[in-house]
């Protein structure tokens, strides 16, 4: 996956900052836009899943590579 509207690098940030800062970026985006988030917080895997379930945004992809977690979120 590589198509995205905005990218947010949450490397080094710990719970709950990756979610809170991503939410801030999402607020400024338009419906249908895709936010790409990179995180190093292993707890963020379940958290981004839960975040999207509860906010109605769509988690297009959630993956891990070389100790980093990648998320693609489509704004509702």
């Amino acid at each position: 996956m590589s198509e995205y509207t905005e990218k947010f690098d949450a490397t080094g940030l710990n719970c709950p900052l990756p979610i809170l800062r991503s939410k801030k970026v999402l607020t400024k985006m338009n419906s249908g836009d895709v936010l790409y988030v990179i995180s190093t917080d292993s707890g963020s895997v379940k958290d981004f899943d839960a975040f999207c379930k509860q906010t109605g945004n769509e988690l297009l992809e959630s993956s891990e590579a070389e100790g980093k977690y990648h998320y693609y979120i489509k704004k509702a």
Binding site: L13, P16, I19, L20, K23, T55
Partner: protein, 160 residues
């Protein structure tokens, strides 16, 4: 009335460690769409000071992880030594910083940005002769009845 979910928190503790749960939960709840209020009472009012000088004490807290395995050999009474509290507090703060954990002030700002309503217990302010100019702006001063007005229709109520 909106169909937004609601979270009501009572924050009663004024130490560095216990400052985190209310602000983490409130800011996160706000991010996922909860309308959120925190009612600060007794020592919890320390969390509303402009100048946050929060400390954590190893004294009487056997659950606190200590550096260098000190919890295994360091006598409990030793944690009462002058300077221990400040030392442990600054060690905790630098550890948090190095692990990318937000500061209490940062989380509190995120709460305010997300319209989390912060309410200071007026009775406590009066009881301890606290100066309201020491507190951050944009907070309300009220009592238990005001808390129940919101808590009564909340989906989640927490006492921290």
């Amino acid at each position: 009335m909106s169909d937004e979910k609601k979270l009501a928190i009572i924050a009663t503790k004024g130490t560095l460690d216990w400052a985190y749960p209310p602000f983490i939960l409130a800011s996160t709840a706000a991010a996922i769409g909860y309308e959120t209020q925190i009612f600060f009472t007794f020592y919890g009012l320390q969390l509303l000071k402009k100048d946050l000088n929060l400390k954590v004490s190893p004294l009487g807290n056997p659950g606190m992880p200590m550096p260098m395995g000190m919890d295994k050999w360091f006598p409990t009474l030793g944690t009462a030594l002058p300077g221990m509290e400040s030392m442990m507090s600054s060690m905790m703060k630098s550890k948090m910083k190095s692990k990318g954990v937000a500061s209490v002030a940062e989380l509190r700002e995120l709460c305010q940005e997300a319209d989390v309503k912060l309410i200071a217990c007026q009775m406590t302010v009066d009881l301890f002769d606290m100066d309201t100019s020491d507190f951050i702006d944009d907070i309300d001063y009220a009592g238990a009845t005001t808390f129940f007005e919101f808590a009564g229709e909340s989906d989640v109520n927490l006492f921290i």
